[in-house]
Every structure is written in C-alpha cells, then in structure tokens.
C-alpha cells in the first residue's frame, strides 16, 4: 500500500513538474539596457520570444545617467549579469577590442542574417568595428537620433503667429536652420501664454554623463564640425577647432544663455521632457525614442505637438543615438542569447518592434510604403538617420567623452574662456588620450 502511494505521489509530482517547468534546455536570459520608453516596448515584444523558445527573459534596465557607468563596469569586471546587452553605439570599439562582445559574423552567416537588410547608417554605427569593416559585434536594435519637438498649438495660434511676424518679419514655422531655431526660441523666451511665463527651448546641458556633448554636437555638426581632417587619421587640428566648429559652439552657448528656462544648467533627457510636458518651453530637443510617448501624452501630445529634424546650418546633420544588441562574451548562455538575436532579426518581429514604439533599423520596416505615414515623426526619423554623425567609437571613448563634457560645460554653462580655447583644449585632451593609446 505504501509503495503504491509512493508511486502515485511520484507520478503526480512528475506530471506537475512537466507541466510547470520550461522546455528542455530552456534558459533564463538577462537583457541589459537603459531604463526608458523603448525598454518597456521590448519587454512586451520579448513575450513572443519566451512563448516560442521556452526561455525566460529577465531585464536589467538602468537609468540613463548611470547606464554607461554601470554597464561598462559590469563589462570591465567580466560580470555575468547580462547575457544580452543593448549598449550605446560608442561602446562598440571597447566592446570589440576588450573582448566584451561576441563577434557575430559566423553566427550571421550560419543563420542567414544579412547586414544588407538593415539601414547602412545603423550597421556602420551600431555593429562594426573597426568602423566600416565587415566585422560585426552587434545587430542594429534601436535606431535613434537627436531631434526636436514643439508646441504646435502655440505655433498655429493666430495671435502668437501675428506677434512673431510683427517682431521678426517672418512666418512662424518649423525652423529651417539653426539660426531660425534661435530666433523662434528668443521670441518665446519670457513670453506670457495663457497667463504663464514660457521659455524658448530645453536643450541638453548635463555635465555628469554625456548630456551636453550630445546636445552641443547637434549644433556643432550642423555648422560643420568634424572630428578629424581625414577619417582614421586622428588629425584634429583645423577640424575640431575649425571656424565652423567655433561658430557652432558659440551658437549653442548663446542658445543656452538666451533661451532656456531658469536654472537649466544640468539637464538631459528627463529634464527636457519635464520642461516640455509642464508647458515651460515652446521647443525641446530629445531623442526620437521618446517621440511615440510624447505623441501619446494626453496633455501635450496629439494635436498639440509636432516634430522636426535637427535643423541644418551649413550641413544637414543630427547627433546619432541608438544602439545595437550584443551577446556578452562572459555569458554562459551564449547559445540562448544568440537565439534571441536570431528571433529579433526577423522582419515580422522588427515590424512589431516599430509598432510597439521601438525604432527598427530593418529595411523591410523603413522601406515599407506606409512607414512615413505610420507616425507623425516617422518621416523625420528617416531624414534624421540619413544625416547622423556619431561621437568617437574608440575603445577610449569614455575618456574622450569626459574630456568633451568638461570642456563644453566649462565654456557653455560656466562661461570660462572662449569657444576657440575650449576646442583647443579639447584637442589637447584628445591628443593625449590617443598618444596613450598608441594611435598618435
């Protein structure tokens, strides 16, 4: 009797276990990324992968100001927290050279994943190291660029439009140049609208991570700033501190001084969104990644908002954002992680990714005839991605970035020295870094 009971119990346990446990070989994968709107969309999207593969997805999302610090420390220490990492584009050099990322060429070949299926700018920026070579360390996961949005309801208000025309002699419209953007920002600065004081624009001025660099390069690129005279030469004299670069930097400082809300000295994505959502500013810069959320916002979205690409001045250019997805070399679940990438690369998954609010870089999505009409910012996204420029992607990227953060913040916010001095010092810093790297 006892034996029968034992057998029955064991059978029942086995049956329960077989029903509740994941499929054989199922893994628990951890995907690391920044904590922001698209990350939530990815959680939703990944449920399909869990259903299909039997694997369980865990997510480690870190707020942007700490993202680089936290994740680069994780990689540098050989940590196994992340099996998959959607790392910033600038990390690709360090990820590849320091052996943090798995090279994906063989995997792509074996699984028939072609980089030709993705937008060339994203492949170049998010996947390759050395730059432009056919060595892939990531799959383009999230296309992004720094763009602008504005209060359409104010821009189309007849009274405000008339006041603008009276003041400037021009029509109030989406700015077609950096100078026009400043003119509009000046117009709105301190203006009373609906009984409240409004300001011109919220821009990036953050000191600690990458904020002011990402913001100021929007103006610098548009004026004609270049990192090198010849790509790959590390010859920066005359490029980084060219007359156009100096003019661009002076422009950004003036924009900060003339047209931002009071106390706007250390602001990045969150602060820019807050300033716009609270109705303080007429225009704001931020990453396209936030645009779906902004458009859906019940208070300032819908008809009240519209979007525009970073305006050109001498050049049509936008600061690149976005990331590729990589398999972390220290993971002991690489096969399952590669399965995720294989699943993610499928055109139908990419279409769902865009529909959920992620910016697919897959040609099947971007070249779809209905893409431009699918969202009010979709067309702008395509234009922006055509002219993106990125920061150094060298292994010493963090050092190069911190130097630029310091020089720009010292000049723009702390009002120390001139634009030319700031850029000259930046060249000195970067030359020192490249000398240490053995590249100069």
């Amino acid at each position: 009797m006892t034996t029968t009971k034992t057998l029955l119990g064991a059978t029942a346990l086995t049956a329960v276990a077989s029903l509740t446990a994941p499929a054989a070989g199922a893994e628990e994968l951890t995907l690391c990324w920044a904590a922001w709107d698209p990350a939530n969309a990815l959680v939703e999207l990944s449920k399909e992968f869990e259903e299909q593969s039997g694997n369980t997805m865990n997510f480690e999302f870190v707020p942007w100001p700490n993202f680089a610090d936290r994740m680069l420390n994780e990689l540098n220490s050989g940590g196994q927290l992340c099996d998959l990492l959607i790392g910033d584009s600038q990390w690709i050099g360090g990820g590849a050279e320091n052996g943090h990322y798995v090279q994906l060429n063989e995997f792509f070949d074996a699984e028939g994943i072609s980089m030709d299926d993705f937008a060339p700018a994203t492949v170049y920026a998010y996947s390759t190291w050395p730059k432009g070579s056919p060595n892939y360390y990531a799959l383009p996961a999230m296309g992004d660029a720094n763009g602008w949005f504005y209060r359409k309801d104010w821009f189309t208000d007849p009274e405000i439009m008339a006041a603008y025309t009276e003041e400037t002699g021009e029509e109030l419209r989406e700015p077609q140049s950096q100078r026009e953007l400043m003119q509009i920002a000046k117009f709105f600065q301190g203006r009373e609208i609906d009984g409240q004081t409004r300001y011109g624009a919220s821009i990036f001025t953050e000191r600690g991570s990458e904020g002011i660099t990402m913001g100021a390069t929007g103006a610098l690129y548009a004026f004609g700033f270049k990192y090198e005279n010849e790509p790959g030469s590390y010859d920066m004299e005359g490029a980084v501190n060219s007359a156009e670069a100096i003019e661009g930097l002076e422009f950004y400082k003036e924009l900060y001084e003339c047209c931002t809300p009071p106390g706007y000295t250390d602001s990045y994505m969150e602060q820019s969104l807050d300033a716009f959502k609270s109705g303080q500013v007429a225009m704001a810069m931020n990453w396209f990644a936030f645009f779906p959320g902004l458009h859906a916002d019940p208070d300032i979205g819908g008809d009240k908002i519209d979007f525009f690409v970073n305006p050109p001045q001498n050049v049509a250019a936008s600061t690149l954002g976005g990331q590729g997805i990589s398999v972390v070399a220290y993971s002991d679940k690489k096969d399952a992680a590669l399965d995720y990438i294989k699943w993610f690369a499928q055109p139908d998954v990419q279409a769902k990714w865009w529909a959920l609010g992620g910016y697919s870089a897959h040609n099947s999505v971007l070249n779809d005839p209905g893409f431009e009409a699918s969202a009010p910012f979709a067309g702008d996204f395509l234009v922006a991605m055509d002219g993106v420029q990125d920061f150094w992607q060298e292994p010493a990227y963090a050092e190069l970035l911190l130097a630029m953060q310091k020089r720009l913040h010292d000049y723009i916010v702390a009002d120390q020295g001139t634009a030319e001095e700031a850029l000259n010092k930046l060249i000195e810093d970067w030359q020192e870094t490249f000398e240490d790297e053995g590249k100069l």
Partner: protein, 315 residues
C-alpha cells in the same frame, strides 16, 4: 595550591598536544592571537597601498587587463602636478574646506555655548539641531537641489522674501559665483551640529569651580570667556576641525548629488576628479599617482595638525 585554568586545560589535553601548548611562550601565544588581525590589516590596508604606489608608476588601465603595462616612471606625477585643471580642483577643495570649517566652528561653537546655558527646552533643541547630521548625504544633496531650484525652490523664495530679488533670477547651483557657496551652505547646515556636539562636550567638561574662582577674582564674563572657556574648549574645537577637515577633504556624495562638480568644473573637488579619472576614464595608473599625492598631502597636514593639537593639550 589551586590549579589555574591553564593548568587544568593542559591536564585535560592529550599528552602530545599538551606538551606543545606548554612549550609555547607567552610571546608566541600573543602572536597567534594578533596574527589574524595583522594579516587582515596587511591584506586590506598595507598591500593595496603598496600596490597603488606600484601602479602609480605605470600606465595600467583596469578596463584593459590584456594591454601591456608599461613602466612610465614619474610621468604620472609630473602630469598631475603640472596640470592646471588639477590645481583648479585643489583650489576648489581648499575653498570648500576653509569656509565649511570656519563657518561650522563659529556657528557650532555659538550654538553649543547657547545650549550650555541650560535654558528651558535646551534638550529638545539639541535634538532638533542634530537632526541634519543623521540624514544620508545623498538624500540631503537631492532635496537641497529642489530647495535651490530657481522656479520652485524654497531657498530662492526665502532670499527673495528678505531681499526682494526675483527668485528665478538666480540659480544657486547653476551660477559660477554661487555654486561654491551652495555646497558650503549645505555642508554647514548638515555638519554644524557635529561640531556643536563636540564643543558642547568641551564646555560641559569645564568645572564650575573655575568660573566661581574667576568670579571671586571679579573677572568679567568677557574675560572669563577668553581666559577660561576658549582655552579649555580649544582642544575639543581642534579635534572637531581635524575630523571635519579629513571628512571634507574626501567629500564626494553630497557635492555629486548637488552640483555634480559643475557648473563646468567650478565645484569639482579632488575626490570627484579622482573618481572620474579612476572609474570613468579608467586611467588607473594616473589615478593611483593622484591618490598617492592626495594621501601624502592629507597625511602630512594631519600629522602637523595632530602635533599642534598635542601641544595645545599639554598646556
């Protein structure tokens, strides 16, 4: 004659072991007890220090373990000592140290002197006054950023109330001129109670009989203050200065939360700068040299100061 516990233990121990225990000298037993502590001290203090000194002569980067490490001699030290940006952070640190210590000593001593009058409710006010130092520096830094906010901040409104200046016309943490003072104000708000407590201990340690004797000699309260109170509290005050000096030399969390070292690098104290070099730029060799320079500076200054403190105590 009664057996000692050691003898009893030795008798109860099997013969070979007992012989060995009996064979140990007191010094050997002492070493056995002290050895783990010494080992721990060497492992967590001395070895890292020696290792840091060694790294300071190399171009080692902790994020590039596979890169060949080169011996660069004194190059890191030379770079640091000739870097004008580092001297600016030293200046920012000196400014912060000087003013925080001065204000905390003056205000802390004054409050302690008032509390020591033993007025009604003095115990309650002592508790209220020490509350800020019980808070986390990160929390303090965070909520002061709100207090300093030009549009909604209470601090700006208070200044506006008393001076009539438009609250949104100035930014404490965004202005080059005001930002150094913004961190001094917060640190003083937070740590004055600590100095006050030490001063209060000093004031309460002065016997009443000394004041009574001074009154018999018809010494005025002013004279009693300068010839009794101040000299007898001075060692306590100096101790408070030492503690606050060391703490503020390595100040990090509060300032990072408040200003992040900005605007520009105006409030970038040496500890913040060092952290950026070591754990953001990953220039480990360079940062090691930087740390050694700071260590020698603090150690040297503290040694001189402690000697002065001992002299004051001897008087």
């Amino acid at each position: 004659m009664t057996d000692s516990p050691v003898d009893k233990l030795a008798r109860a121990t099997p013969q070979p072991v007992a012989r060995r225990v009996r064979g140990l000298s007191d010094r050997a037993i002492a070493w056995i007890f002290v050895a783990p502590t010494i080992f721990l001290l060497l492992a967590v203090n001395i070895f890292p220090l020696i290792w840091t000194i060694r790294l300071s002569f190399t171009n080692f980067r902790a994020n590039r373990p596979n890169r060949e490490v080169e011996w660069v001699g004194l190059r890191n030290y030379e770079r640091i000592l000739t870097d004008s940006d580092i001297w600016l952070t030293m200046q920012a640190t000196a400014h912060f140290l000087f003013w925080t210590i001065l204000l905390q000593v003056l205000i802390g001593f004054t409050i302690a002197w008032l509390i020591n009058r033993n007025f009604k409710g003095s115990a309650f006010w002592t508790t209220v006054i020490v509350l800020p130092m019980m808070l986390s520096p990160a929390v303090v830094g965070n909520f002061w950023t709100f207090l300093y906010q030009p549009q909604i901040g209470l601090f700006n409104y208070a200044v506006s109330f008393f001076t009539g200046v438009d609250p949104s016309s100035f930014s404490m943490i965004g202005s080059v001129n005001l930002a150094p003072w913004s961190i001094i104000i917060v640190d003083t708000w937070m740590w004055t109670p600590f100095v006050m407590l030490i001063c209060l201990a000093g004031l309460r340690s002065i016997p009443d009989s000394i004041y009574e004797a001074a009154e018999v000699d018809r010494a005025s309260p002013w004279r009693q203050f300068w010839t009794i109170t101040v000299p007898m509290v001075l060692p306590f005050l100096m101790l408070a200065v030492l503690f606050r000096g060391i703490e503020n030399f390595k100040m990090f969390d509060l300032v990072v939360q408040l200003t992040g070292g900005g605007p520009g690098s105006i409030t970038e104290l040496t500890s913040i700068n060092l952290k950026r070099e070591a754990f953001e730029k990953w220039r480990t060799g360079y940062a090691s040299a930087y740390a050694i320079i700071l260590f020698v500076t603090v150690f040297g200054l503290a040694s001189i100061y402690v000697k002065a403190l001992n002299k004051v105590k001897e008087r």
